[in-house]
Symmetry: C2
Subunit: 394 residues, 2 copies
Amino acid sequence: MNGFVYSVPTTVYFGSDEFRHLGEEVAGLGRTVLLCYGGGSIKRTGLYDRVMGQLAEQGLQVVELSGIEPNPRIGSVREGVRLCKEHDVDVVLAVGGGSTIDCAKFVCAGARSDRDPWDWFADKTIPITDALPLVTVLTLAATGSEMDDTGVISNPELQEKQGRGARVLLPKASFLDPENSYSVPPSQTAAGSADIIAHTLEVYLTTEDDLFFLDTFMEGLLRTVVRFAPVAMRDPTNYEARANLMWASSWAINGFADGGKRHGWSAHPMEHELSAFYDITHGLGLAILLPRWMRHCLDKDPATAGKLAQLAEQVFGVTDPALTEREKAEAGIDALAAFFTDELGLASTLGEIGIGDEHFERMAKKACDGKGGTIHGFVDLEPADVVAIFEACQ
Amino acid sequence: MNGFVYSVPTTVYFGSDEFRHLGEEVAGLGRTVLLCYGGGSIKRTGLYDRVMGQLAEQGLQVVELSGIEPNPRIGSVREGVRLCKEHDVDVVLAVGGGSTIDCAKFVCAGARSDRDPWDWFADKTIPITDALPLVTVLTLAATGSEMDDTGVISNPELQEKQGRGARVLLPKASFLDPENSYSVPPSQTAAGSADIIAHTLEVYLTTEDDLFFLDTFMEGLLRTVVRFAPVAMRDPTNYEARANLMWASSWAINGFADGGKRHGWSAHPMEHELSAFYDITHGLGLAILLPRWMRHCLDKDPATAGKLAQLAEQVFGVTDPALTEREKAEAGIDALAAFFTDELGLASTLGEIGIGDEHFERMAKKACDGKGGTIHGFVDLEPADVVAIFEACQ
């Protein structure tokens, strides 16, 4: 069992009754604010006005970076950096989902550097040592970016989508008001929930020895998402469902579940190629890939059956003592796949979302190259494995 | 469902392979260190030498406060404060269990104040606004003081044992090396495990509406302790068992499980009177009280059966569909009581540990007075309720 360092100093204001502290929290970090947001849905919902009201109450100067894309692009980061430098911004406030927050993280870093921000993705050995302070207002339970120190940025010119992390990118404070996710449509609620499940499974599914306590934590987190995602889809203003999904999203990926595991993530590098080539919704790609990846692992290395059977038992209630470990493992994978399609209504094949096999070889190679040639994880994946998983998704 | 603020910035170095960072962490906070510890067991185990070696490597000045009692006393706090002022101490390093860490917290506060430290317990409205930085090396999985901002101090002259918290008391860093708890004898391992269970149940057992996600977390934490406490008692150098208990101890009480519950704790104020009058081991007192308190709640308010039945199902595997909710609740309480006595070998009555009924009325009144006359919690407890619970423990 490996040791680890746990340190998550982000202050989280959770719940509708805590949102009123936003203005004072931002004001404590500076006087000129870069407000980052996406396509304008926050104006339709009234959130924009509520945020601006609190900033105005504190007498803060506000500069705006709007139009941040889903799968946020390096061009938006560059524009944010330019605005920060032009207006001498002190603090960045991201209002949105993971895309907006990810973009804002690299705006924070770029504002305190003379580099082009893509440098940090092109060469991941270049350290990120300084950044403006970041505050976030979360509107979508999905990526966990509100409580972690990483982000993913796309570069359409290079057909690349790359992740990068650094301690200085961790938000100083995040505001998680479940009501701010009431307007998320069912399809995005489903995709976000699949993303939370994927983050958890990427850590849970490991052959490494680690703490049982963390397994129970992840199993509870998965049961939470399985229980409440369908509720939030049917009843978008259900506070309990939105609250459980939102807090689960942060804890799936803030580092607590990792413990001492030196795991490599598997589904994410594969999905990043799908998103880079086809600009699809990240969580949707993950939901298609996950069950096929798990089945591939089970076939390639029968020793993975134990952990997959544990997942089946603890999360999907597969407890029939007549089943073998392998049968339990398979039943658990089937239950997960059925949850994604039947409960969340997500597409189950790449064909359904317009992805053919024309780039499978190239995407597989890029996914593995990004990990040094092999994706090390629950089982090691070579490009041929990744192609086989893509093919199983057709 | 209430909102809440979550903020736990303590950095935790977990595992044997992380202990080597102690010296540099302390050196980052100052040059003169007050080393706090208890009765000297850390000298027998060699931990003292390992700590001093790291401090010497950094060239730090070390002043010592030793002999800190279980149920630490205000006299030790005062002595620590005196040493800090005399030697111009920059940083306090507590090496031990919850008693040593609790004492060190108020040494940190006292060193930056002109007050007598008991003032903060005699009048809990007096703010604690400044404190020296604190680093801890944990040797016993129990109180969770390594990752929270509170402590409990005894004043034998007044027969009082009081808790108090303040943000500035939160440790800057804590070193959790499971090997440092290998020397904890089975009886203390048992009492510490009972303490972890008590912290969790005090939050879990509530009639307030809160996040399902947090319930699953606490159920997993309880299952962890139920599984590994007996292992650590039988096999004291079992790293896996010690590691699970140690990380569970921190998370039972660091604030995460609280969510938005405005719960009042019930078993702890009752136990604090037992410890104040008889100087017994805290966890042992809790193990005797908890099942009787839960049964009293069930009898006084049948609406508590639902949560108690959930505990029985999720933690103790009481799933027989033929049982009524109340029967499940009772079976869960029985299972907890049996775990304390049969698995942990703890005393099951106050009589066994030499406590008679001579002070029941006075202790009950003090327990309730400390909470404004009534202990508000899972069910509200008046002094007559507390006397009845004490009597059930005879």
